[in-house]
Amino acid sequence: MAAVLRSLWNNRTARAGLLIVGLFLLAISVGGALMPYSATDMDFVNLLMPPDWTHPFGTDSFGRDVLTRVLLGGRVSLAISVIGVALAAMIGIPAGLAAAWYGGWIDQLLMRFADLLFAFPSFVLALFLMVVLGFGVTNVMLAITLVYVPIFARLTRNLALTVREEAYVQAARLMGQSTARILGREILPNIMAPIMVQASISIAFGVIIEAGLSFLGLGVQPPTPSLGVIMADGREYFNQGPWVLTLTGLFISFGLLGLNLLGDGLRDLTDPKLRERTTS
């Protein structure tokens, strides 16, 4: 683990990503406590104040400090995305391993189903699920899960297929190890790196899905302050106080930039073809 972090640190892109993600996590975890305001206290003297030193992101139509709300909302949005993507990985990875290991009709069935989910625009899929299940935090998570299950399943299957015939897997098989042990101990650790890259990128896009759904009013519902909810709120009075929406979005972009850079850096490190090119 320490070695992985060190090699990440030596990659310029990954280092920038790590720094941004670290700063982002630090901000949403302790930043809220450091702010002198609460996310819900209304201040009717300071309605829709533009950004200044006391309110770096300005105030909203209830006089609430936008930065305080954004830091709290970042926590909510990130948690939704992380849980949604984690669920997707917990379903998609075993499904992909099963498809690769057993092949035959199991593989066909799982992959055709993934193809079907793939054929819907991801946002349409999420929207569709919200209509069926109803709006709210849990269902946004499930929508993110639904979008990413086929992606994890297909990626895992394709990766597992390439290592399935490797000598160490065959050796474990001949030694009579159980299927579960081979999949978990021999195959999974060897394909984990690209899956981690996918996970970091998925978490970034999961935040966008949450924000998009909530922004339309179809996702997280106020008063829960997710980033999408804050932006939807800012949309109501965009002409009078454009900073609420734009600065919240800027905050999201900042976090996503970190996750994307981290993903790029991880990919540089794990793709041998790219590594070869960077040394020459």
Partner: protein, 317 residues
């Protein structure tokens, strides 16, 4: 001969996928909690009215029969009647009126993304490791990190409210005025295209660098062809295949982005219809929109596959 068989096979697969997809959409929709009749007429509606409503909307029989009727309607271009969004209007006419707008914005966004990414990706690959590459790849990382709906508002703030160059809201249908559609569609299309251009540019850069490292480039140089000629016919020509493949894969994101952006800019399209349907719990409308999106994605993928098979001699024909 082999080629027509390839296309025919793909078309058949498309039809099958749409059929299976429509069953899944239908069943999931059926499992949604709540009675559509109650949703449309209210809790206190008279039982006779509810019965009439159920008969009109094909809700009074067992679900396999419902699906059969719905499907036979869909095959004839009839998606049934809207429940609440546009009460009792034919969904097919709603879609017919809105689909061109969605396709127009989607195509415009795609064109912008292709132009931007061709420029940025080529510069990044040719100037690899130099300033041009750094600028292009940084812009790409930034582009991927911007939620398109947020970018819409930034564009509105700068180009509509600030500079007054483009309208902030409203879209003129291409059927009414092509120039009006291009003008009013520019900001929405630009917002959708930014993240796409970033993904395309990165793919193109990687593909160009990969093709440029191949032995055939050294071989081409050994024959003394001009560098620009080698770039076009060896490097770019071979990078084109992964580039076009990624466009096919990204069509889902283009359409996903269009859904949100249509609401923001007041474009009357399939995406905004689906969102309206979602708010009003108009199940037949949401169902119809989902199937239409499915057909669009699959058709685009088919076209991309055909283009790739023409570009890549190694693909089955």
């Amino acid at each position: 001969m082999a080629w027509t068989r390839f296309v025919a096979g793909r078309l058949l697969a498309l039809v099958l996928t749409v059929l299976v997809g429509s069953v899944v959409v239908f069943l999931v929709m059926k499992s949604a909690p709540g009675d559509p009749a109650v949703a449309a007429l209210g809790e206190s509606a008279r039982p006779e009215l509810v019965a009439v409503f159920r008969a009109k909307h094909n809700l009074d029989v067992a679900w396999p029969l419902q699906y059969g009727r719905w499907l036979s309607g869909v095959v004839q271009g009839d998606f049934g009647l809207s429940l609440t969004v546009a009460s009792d209007r034919k969904i097919s006419s709603l879609i017919a009126a809105r689909l061109p707008n969605t396709i127009f914005i989607g195509l415009m966004a795609l064109s912008i993304a292709v132009v931007l990414s061709l420029i940025a990706g080529t510069i990044a690959a040719l100037r690899r490791g130099k300033l041009g590459d750094t600028i292009a790849t940084s812009l790409a990382a930034l582009g991927i990190s911007m939620p398109d709906f947020w970018l819409s508002y930034v564009l509105i703030l700068v180009f509509a409210l600030g500079l007054g160059l483009f309208p902030a809201y409203g879209f003129i249908a291409p059927g009414q005025s092509m120039s009006g559609a291009l003008y009013s569609g520019f900001l929405p299309a630009l917002a959708v295209s930014a993240p796409l251009a970033a993904v395309f540019a990165r793919t193109l850069r990687t593909a160009l660098l990969e093709a440029g490292n191949k032995d055939y480039v050294v071989a081409a140089r050994s024959f003394g062809f001009r560098p620009a000629y080698i770039f076009v016919h060896w490097v770019f020509r071979n990078a084109l295949i992964p580039y076009i493949t990624i466009i096919g894969l990204q069509i889902r994101y283009i359409l996903g982005g269009v859904v949100v952006i249509e609401r923001i800019f007041g474009v009357s399209g399939i995406g905004s219809l689906m969102v309206d349907g979602a708010f009003a719990r108009d199940y037949p409308v949401v169902q119809a929109c989902a199937v239409v999106f499915l057909v669009i994605v699959l058709s685009v993928n088919l076209v991309v596959d055909v283009i790739c098979s023409l570009l890549d001699p190694k693909r089955a024909r």
